[in-house]
C-alpha cells in the first residue's frame, strides 16, 4: 500500500516523530564528540555514526513531509519542547565520559535496530522501504557498539567498573524508550503496523545476549509513566534543544 488513509495520518506522524527525534538527538549528542573522543580512530567512527543518525532523522522528516507538507528543517528545528517525541535517554548528558556515551549508544542502537525491523513490516510501503534501508545501516551501529561493550567489559577492571556504572546510571532512561507512542494501537488495529509482541522483552533478550561473556549486567525495567514520547521532557533535553535551536531561532525563516 503506497497511499495512507487520512484517518491514520496523525498516528503515523507521531510514530515517525518518535523515530526521527530519537535519531536526531542521539546524533546531535554524539556529534559533540567529534574532535575530542579518546582515540582518533574511535573519534572518526563515532562521528560517522552520528552523521548516519542525523541523516536518518532527515529521511524520516522527509517522510513526514510527504504526509503533511511540513518542511523537514522546520520540523527538526522549529518546535516547542512538548512537541518533540524522543525518549530522553538520547539527550541524557554524558558529561564527556566515554562510558556514558557508550552505554547510551548501546541501549539506543539495539532498540533502534529492533524498532526498525518491526517498521520494515509496515503495510504502508514508503515506511517499510525506508525502515528496511536504514535498518541495514543500523545493523552496523549494533556491530560497532557490540565491539565496544566487549572491549570495555573485558578490558581492565577499571573499564569494566566504569561501564557497569554507566549502564546502571542510564538504565532508568533506557526504560523510557519503551513508552508506547500515542496512536500506535490505532495503527495496529488498522493493519498499518504489525503488532509483534513486547518490544522490551525482545530488546532485553538481545542486550543480555550481547553482554554475555563481558561480565557486565543489564538491569533495565519495563517502562512506567509518561515521558518524552508524550512530550514530557527533562532538563537535559531542554538544554540540548536550546543548543540545537540557538542559531536557527535567531531567524527561523532565514536560509542558513
Amino acid at each position: 500500500m503506497s497511499e495512507l488513509d487520512k484517518q491514520f495520518h496523525e498516528a503515523i506522524v507521531n510514530v515517525l516523530l518518535c523515530v526521527a527525534d530519537d535519531k536526531l538527538f542521539l546524533g546531535h549528542r554524539n556529534s559533540d564528540w567529534t574532535g575530542i573522543a579518546p582515540i582518533l580512530e574511535a573519534d572518526i567512527a563515532f562521528s560517522s555514526l552520528a552523521q548516519d543518525d542525523i541523516a536518518h532523522a532527515g529521511a524520516f522528516y522527509e517522510l513526514i513531509n510527504s504526509i503533511n507538507g511540513e518542511n523537514p528543517d522546520q520540523i527538526a528545528f522549529g518546535r516547542n519542547t512538548s512537541a518533540y517525541r524522543c525518549a530522553d535517554i538520547v539527550t541524557k548528558d554524558d558529561e564527556f565520559n566515554w562510558a556514558n556515551a557508550i552505554a547510551r549508544q548501546f541501549y539506543c542502537n539495539v532498540y533502534e535496530y529492533l524498532r526498525l525491523q518491526r517498521l520494515s513490516n509496515c503495510t504502508w510501503s514508503p515506511l517499510a522501504n525506508l525502515a528496511k534501508r536504514i535498518d541495514a545501516e543500523q545493523a552496523i551501529h549494533v556491530d560497532h557498539i557490540t565491539t565496544w561493550m566487549e572491549h570495555l567489559g573485558n578490558g581492565t577492571e577499571d573499564s569494566k567498573e566504569r561501564m557497569q556504572k554507566a549502564l546502571d546510571d542510564y538504565a532508568p532512561y533506557a526504560s523510557m524508550m519503551f513508552e508506547a507512542p500515542r496512536g500506535i494501537d490505532t495503527l495496529f488495529e488498522g493493519g498499518i503496523l504489525v503488532n509483534e509482541g513486547c518490544l522490551f522483552t525482545a530488546w532485553k533478550d538481545c542486550v543480555d545476549n550481547i553482554v554475555d561473556g563481558t561480565g557486565l549486567t543489564i538491569t533495565v525495567e519495563p517502562c512506567t509513566g509518561d515521558g518524552g514520547r508524550t512530550g514530557n521532557h527533562d532538563e537535559d533535553f531542554t538544554r540540548s534543544l536550546n543548543e540545537l535551536q540557538e542559531v536557527f531561532n535567531t531567524d527561523p525563516l532565514a536560509a542558513w
Binding site: 549528542r29 567529534t34 579518546p38 582518533l40 562521528s47 566515554w98 566504569r162 542558513w256
Partner: protein
C-alpha cells in the same frame, strides 16, 4: 584545514653529514626526486620533516576544536551534517599526518603528550575566537581556502609519504572550501542581520588568514633548508599574494568589505576601516594589501592569544579523559597504531 608552511625551522648544523651523501641527496631532491622513510637523508631533513608533519597533524586536531563547538548549534540538517563531516575530516587528516610523522621516528602518544604540555605547537590561526555561526562560515571559506593554496604547493614537496597524504587531504579540503563558500554566499544573500554577522566575522578572520602563510620571508629564504630541500615549494609571501589576488576580489563580489582592523586582547574588532592599499596593479595583476598585524601574530604564537589556553585545555581534557579507554582497548596491543 591546516598548514605547516609557517613552521619556523632552525637547523643547528648539517655539516656533520657525509659530504658525498649530502651532495647526492641534494641533487636527487633538486631533480624532483622523492625521499622515502627508509632512504638515506640528512638528520636535519628528518628533524625538519618530522617537525613539519607533527605541526601539521597537531594543527588538524586542534583545528577541529573551534568549529567542533558549533556542530550542535548548526542551523539546518544539511549544515549540521556537513559541519560534522568536515570536522571529522580534520581529525582524519590528523590521524594520517601522525602516521607520516611516526615513520620519521616519534610515537603518536609522544606527539599528543607534547602537544598538550606545550612542547610542540599548532597553527596560530586556531587561537582566535569563533563567537558566531558566521565565523564557522568564514573559517571554512577563508582558512580552508588558504590551506588549499598552501597545501597545493606542499603536495609538490620532496618527502613521499607527506606529499601523498597532502594529495588525499587536498581533495577533501576542496569540499570544505565549497562548503564554506556556499555558507558565506547564503549569509551574504540573506537578511541584513546575516550580512552584518558575515562582515563582522570576515573582519575577525581576514587578518589571521593573511598571517596563515607565516611571517614575511627573510632575504635568504631560497637558501634555507625548507626551500632548498623542497619541503616547501613556494614562499610565504608568494602564497600570501596569490591568496589576496584570489580572495580579496571574491570577498568584494559578495558584498564584503576588506577592512584593516584593530582588535582587543580577546580578538574582537574595535575599529575597522577599508584597506587603503587594496588596489589592483594592472601591470603585475597583483592586489595591494595591508600586512596583517605581525606584533599580534608573534604575541599569539608565544601563547598569549585570545584562545590559546582554552584550546589547549580542551585538548588536555580530551587526552586525560580518554586515558582509561586507551588502556582498556590497547591493553597488550603494543603495536596498535594509537599506542605506539
Amino acid at each position: 584545514m591546516s598548514a605547516s608552511a609557517n613552521v619556523e625551522v632552525k637547523v643547528k648544523e648539517f655539516s656533520k653529514e657525509d659530504p658525498a651523501k649530502l651532495a647526492a641527496f641534494e641533487k636527487h631532491v633538486a631533480e624532483g626526486g622523492l625521499v622515502e622513510p627508509n632512504d638515506w637523508m640528512p638528520e636535519a631533513y628528518r628533524a625538519l620533516m618530522l617537525r613539519m608533519a607533527e605541526h601539521h597533524a597537531n594543527s588538524e586536531i586542534v583545528g577541529a576544536l573551534p568549529e567542533g563547538e558549533w556542530i550542535t548549534k548548526a542551523p539546518s540538517l544539511l549544515r549540521k551534517l556537513a559541519l560534522t563531516a568536515k570536522v571529522q575530516d580534520e581529525v582524519g587528516h590528523g590521524q594520517m599526518l601522525y602516521e607520516v610523522a611516526q615513520d620519521l621516528g616519534k610515537t603518536r602518544n609522544a606527539m599528543l603528550r607534547d602537544l598538550i604540555t606545550g612542547v610542540t605547537k599548532y597553527h596560530n590561526c586556531f587561537n582566535y575566537p569563533c563567537p558566531t555561526w558566521a565565523d564557522v562560515c568564514m573559517i571554512a571559506w577563508l582558512i580552508d581556502g588558504a590551506a588549499i593554496l598552501n597545501q597545493g604547493t606542499l603536495a609538490h614537496g620532496s618527502f613521499g609519504p607527506y606529499i601523498r597524504t597532502m594529495r588525499r587531504i587536498n581533495m577533501e579540503e576542496a569540499f570544505h572550501f565549497k562548503h564554506g563558500e556556499d555558507m558565506v554566499l547564503t549569509l551574504m544573500s540573506g537578511t541584513e542581520n546575516q550580512k552584518k554577522m558575515a562582515q563582522e566575522a570576515f573582519d575577525r578572520w581576514w587578518g589571521p588568514a593573511l598571517a596563515f602563510f607565516g611571517p614575511v620571508d627573510p632575504p635568504d629564504v631560497m637558501e634555507r633548508p625548507a626551500m632548498k630541500w623542497r619541503m616547501k615549494t613556494a614562499t610565504n609571501d608568494e602564497l600570501r599574494q596569490k591568496y589576496v589576488n584570489r580572495f580579496a576580489p571574491a570577498a568584494m563580489a559578495t558584498g564584503l568589505v576588506v577592512n584593516v582592523c584593530e582588535k582587543d586582547e580577546k580578538g574582537f574588532v574595535t575599529s575597522a576601516t577599508p584597506d587603503p592599499l587594496l588596489k589592483l596593479d594592472k601591470e603585475t595583476g597583483n592586489w595591494g594589501f595591508t600586512q596583517p598585524d605581525w606584533d599580534e601574530f608573534f604575541r599569539v604564537i608565544r601563547g598569549d592569544g585570545p584562545c590559546n589556553k582554552e584550546r589547549m585545555a580542551l585538548r588536555r581534557f580530551s587526552y586525560e579523559q580518554g586515558e582509561w579507554v586507551r588502556r582498556a582497548i590497547l591493553n597488550g596491543a603494543t603495536n596498535a597504531p594509537c599506542n605506539n
